[in-house]
């Protein structure tokens, strides 16, 4: 009973579900760190030494200046009252600051350059690697999760490379330097003040970690909020059609409230950070005031030294705080680099052989020889299939969803390799030829054509990037796309948005035909290319097809009889097997599955 009611409340509460693909940090891992830093290697003799030199110069001055000002200048001013010494001191310090200025310019400039070069290399190798991965890889992941790795994950390493590494060095030098200098001036006062160091380290690590965790929670809530916002904008037409505005507002108030609450908690914690820093610093200052003055009273310390201490005390916090930050960056970098390396280590599931053959000038005869295929171990998409397509023939694959039509097409273009058997092109096993040379001979026109943002011309040219404008227009004319393109505001130069919003499905299809024609492949595959198009456009496409098919081996997947009937051979598939094969009239005479399929298309009209 109670579980029932619990379930129903749960249902109304969780109107939408969002999962986030955000791993924020990972424990430290040396091997991965080394791999990450190997990206620095190309620059270890060029940019890196300059950045380190700059850092070294400015750090040295930062350490020297307080000593000169406090222990030397101030003491002389108070005790010797010697004007010339003061003048020399002032000039020296001015000169040092000039050096530090130069050092800073070098550091900032070369550190950033170094960081950016590394990020560029990393991103490029990631992107290029992904281009080489096979369909199987993309089947398993959402576009968003791949995008995040190339953009955000790579970016989150930016800080580590630009600032992290050099700062780490700089801060260690600073800390050690301060302690050494102070110890030389007065070991006992240094020892007394050092009490604050553990305190500062504690705040910098423990408290910071605590704060970081609560911000992670905020980010998670926020990304959920954004997912919902995004979805609710895209689905607004459905929401309004179904009058769900009010319930959605209720849902949003709830997640917005959760976000607010987690944010408030995080703020509560992170507001503690600064006070603790101030207070731990105050402990040190109070010790300095009290114990320092006692030392002065006993003539164990000069006023100038006292002042030097006070200057350095103010400089303690910065390196400690930054060391904590670098540590954070490392943990974030661990998570990001793990995700990046995961992709980089992914092997293409259709690898190219070492001695793969270049295909040129093929005929286009395709043979499936005892082919079996399974997308995953459980379901077999193709059971032991033998199939022959002669060069220059038009072949149609017919069957229900899941009968294996698309799988055959995927095997022919070698997006996947068969689990058993061979796919032969002009008698050569596809696994023995260069992928590039194979794919440049095979073009696919998909059911859902992707239009890239850019001009219409760019989109047609995508079929062959070195094609002239005239050739693109020629191709468009041949497939009958010219007519509607001319009607667009700027003709071929009209900009289309991503996914081609201003074009209808049929128009997009014609553009992809033009693309395919321009690519001039020997083998053409049409995957349900004419599904949801109005009758007149379909006519246009039929005519375009005739032009397109000339002199090529064509494989068509289609539902509509009008597209299939003229094929030289029709294969009727079911559950990954060939049921029937032959020409339209042969199959009609057989009165088998094909006959039934065709009849079902006319069933209603023949009845009426």
């Amino acid at each position: 009973m109670s579980s029932q009611s619990e379930k129903s409340t749960k249902r109304t509460l969780e109107r939408f579900h969002y999962s986030t693909d955000e791993v924020i940090e990972k424990p430290f891992n040396w091997k991965q760190m080394l791999r990450l830093f190997s990206y620095m290697k190309p620059y270890s003799r060029t940019l890196l030494p300059v950045a380190i030199l700059g850092m070294f110069l400015s750090t040295a001055v930062r350490l020297a200046a307080p000593v000169l000002i406090g222990s030397y200048a101030l003491d002389h001013i108070i005790e010797n009252r010697e004007m010339s010494f003061l003048a020399w001191m002032t000039a020296l310090i001015a000169f040092l600051y000039l050096i530090s200025y130069v050092g800073n310019v070098l550091r900032v400039r070369y550190m950033n350059r170094l960081g950016q070069y590394i990020i560029y290399d990393l991103r490029e190798s990631l992107f290029n690697h992904i281009q080489k991965l096979s369909h199987r890889f993309f089947d398993q992941r959402s576009a968003g999760s791949i995008l995040v790795r190339i953009t955000n994950d790579v970016n989150s390493l930016q800080d580590l490379f630009t600032n992290g590494v050099i700062n780490l060095l700089m801060d260690i030098i600073m800390l050690v330097g301060i302690i050494v200098i102070l110890s030389i001036i007065s070991p006992e006062l240094t020892l007394a003040i050092m009490i604050v160091l553990p305190l500062m380290f504690f705040i910098s690590t423990k408290l910071r970690r605590n704060i970081r965790r609560s911000w992670q929670d905020v980010r998670l809530k926020q990304s959920m909020l954004n997912s919902h916002l995004n979805e609710s904008i895209q689905g607004i037409r459905v929401t309004q059609s179904f009058t769900q505005e009010r319930p959605n507002i209720g849902f949003f108030h709830k997640i917005n409230g959760q976000n607010y609450e987690s944010w408030r908690q995080a703020t509560k914690k992170s507001a503690m950070f600064r006070p603790f820093v101030e207070m731990s610093g105050a402990v040190g200052t109070a010790i300095l005031l009290w114990f320092g003055v006692i030392l002065i009273q006993n003539n164990a310390l000069s006023v100038g030294d006292f002042f030097t201490f006070s200057l350095f005390l103010g400089m303690f916090w910065e390196p400690i705080s930054r060391l904590g930050q670098v540590y954070n960056q490392l943990l974030v970098g661990m998570a990001s680099s793990e995700r990046i390396f995961e992709f980089l280590d992914e092997k293409p599931s259709v690898p190219e052989k070492e001695n793969a053959e270049e295909l040129d000038d093929i005929q286009g005869g395709i043979v499936l020889d005892g082919v079996e295929f399974a997308y995953d171990s459980e379901r077999k998409a193709i059971h032991h299939m033998d199939l022959t397509m002669k060069a220059g023939e038009t072949v149609a694959l017919v069957g229900h969803t899941g009968s294996g039509k698309s799988t055959i097409v995927n095997l022919i273009s070698r997006f996947y390799d068969p689990t058993a058997g061979r796919v032969l092109l002009d008698g050569k096993d596809l696994r023995d030829v260069k992928l590039d040379s194979l794919r440049s001979q095979v073009s696919i026109v998909l059911q859902d054509t992707f239009i890239f943002s850019g001009t219409i011309m760019d989109n047609i040219r995508f079929g062959r990037p070195d094609a002239e404008d005239e050739e693109c227009m020629e191709a468009a004319k041949t497939v009958g796309a010219d007519r509607f393109i001319q009607k667009l505001p700027n003709g071929y130069e009209t900009e289309v948005e991503e996914r081609g919003n201003i074009l209808s499905v049929g128009e997009r299809q014609l553009i992809s035909f033009a693309r395919a024609l321009l690519a001039d492949p020997k083998i053409l595959i049409l995957d349900e290319a004419t599904a949801s198009i109005d009758t007149e456009t379909e006519q246009l496409i039929q005519r375009a097809l005739e032009k397109l098919l000339q002199g090529r081996t064509a494989v068509m997947i289609a539902h509509r009889l009008s597209t299939i009937r003229d094929a030289d051979t029709i294969f009727v598939l079911e559950h990954g097997r060939i049921l029937e094969q032959g020409s339209h009239s042969e199959l009609m005479n057989q009165r088998g599955e094909y006959f039934e399929l065709v009849r079902s298309q006319f069933q209603e009209t023949s009845a009426g």
Binding site: Y101, V105, S232, G235, R237, Y260, W290, P465, M588
Partner: protein, 587 residues
Amino acid sequence: MNTFQKLRHFYWPFKAYFFWSIALLLAVTGFTVAYPVILQFTIDRIILEGNYQWIPYAAIGFFILTMLKGVAVYFHQYLGDLFGIRSVYEIRNSLYEKLQFLPFRYYDNARTGDLMSRLTADVEGFRFFLSFGFAQLINVVMLVFLSLGIMFFYSPSLAFVTLAAMPFLIITVYKFDKKVHPAFKDIRKSFAGLTTKVQENISGMSTVKSLSKENFEMERFGGKNGDYKDKFIHTSNIWSVYFPFMEFIGHICVVVLLGYGGFLVINGDIQPGVLAAFFSLIWFIINPLMNLGFIVNTFSQAKASGERLLEVLEEPQEIADKEGAMEVDQLEGSVQFSNVTHRYAGETEDALKEVSFDAPKGSTIGLIGATGSGKTSVTQLITRFYEPDEGSIFIDGKPIGDYSLKSLRKNTGVVLQESFLFSSSVKDNISYGNPEVDMEQIVDAAKRSDAHAFIMDLPDGYDTVLGERGGGLSGGQKQRIAIARAICMDPGILILDDATSAVDMETEGKIQRAFQEVMKGRTTFIIAHRISSLMHADEILVMDEGKVVERGTHTELLRKNGSYRRIYDLQYKDQYQFLEEAKGGIG
């Protein structure tokens, strides 16, 4: 200021947080400048004058002051943050509510990306100013003036000489900000370009691979990637020129302070402790000034963000319930159009031109015609997503505006060509329009749209949670869930806008048969390209360029030998042949 005035009701109710935060900030500033004063006192009064017995008081006094300062810092920051996030909570709620009710016309021209950036980046920009920017502005002013006051109190001439370089600092900061903000904008823009490129590449991956254009894509990406790198390096170059220079100006002040201050001490004009105090005090002026540009910028950012938020919030909600609109539980479903003319905002041609028809309760109307002929406009007017420019629409004999939007849309089930599903369970997707229905009705709706079988095959059946936009399902499966969703509302009017184009023939047949039953007792509008989908309609309207060019039943229209006949011939020329062949086969 006007922008802040208009957005006032979002943050002003929480003004108490703000004022307390500011009050505490004043205390913080006071405590901050106390340190150099104590230092001066320690050196001059305690050490040099030998009043060593006072030192415990100075040390403890300083410690207590810092503790107080810590408490003040904590509450200042917490309350300031709270002020921002509380206001933003309200703004977000209002924005979301607004977005839920904005008309289709708004969304026709809006881009998801742009709206999202308003809802995220602009909201954040506004919050940052409320939480941080405004208080910091006050802080800078306070700290600078208080430090200046103390310096002049100690030694006007030393203060003057030391701060002589300040105008240079201010000029540098000003120049730096002028250069660095556009540079940052360029970085953001370049990154957006890079993101778009990657996104497009991934979404279009099958197209890229099928045309074997990986290398071409790598090249194009390389350009974007390089551009981002160059923009970034350009910015860091600006940074590397200005930032060390600002620091250098600060150091010049230190050098001048040492030289002139030392001279004054030697001459006995000031005491050494004053000189020591100056070394702290000048950084209280230099550091805030270096940040001033950044802080001022948060203000202009917040103003710009606020304006963009107001654009959304002030968008007119054209289509709303009339005063005293009728709440109707169940509409009968008769629909009448009388001389309806409609033009979409920003278009140059009418989408509908004087369209009239009469759809009695329970009848079926078929709409056929080329893309852009106005079929969908008819249905969007029935659901009052747009309002016609001329003519009137009646439902159950009353003008459409007399009904509340809710009762109108609750009684109209729509299935669109591109079915949008939400990231929630299958069950919740089907019952989206009517969350109260029980499981039985959900299953019944799924069975009728031929979705039950494949839903049961999903890992968690009806409880399976779908990915964004129905991820994991094929186009046909999504379509069938969308159909179930419409059936589940039990509407008096059913609109099927090219609803079966994405499913295969066999399923289409099944759904069509299911529709026959579902349509009983409902007024149904079928938009289709296939004659087989709408041939049984009571009246078929053939649309062309916004006009009804032919109307009648299937048989009547065939006899007319017009455009309907032409479409029919195109679609059915195969059938004759098939029938011939079939006969031939038998004979």
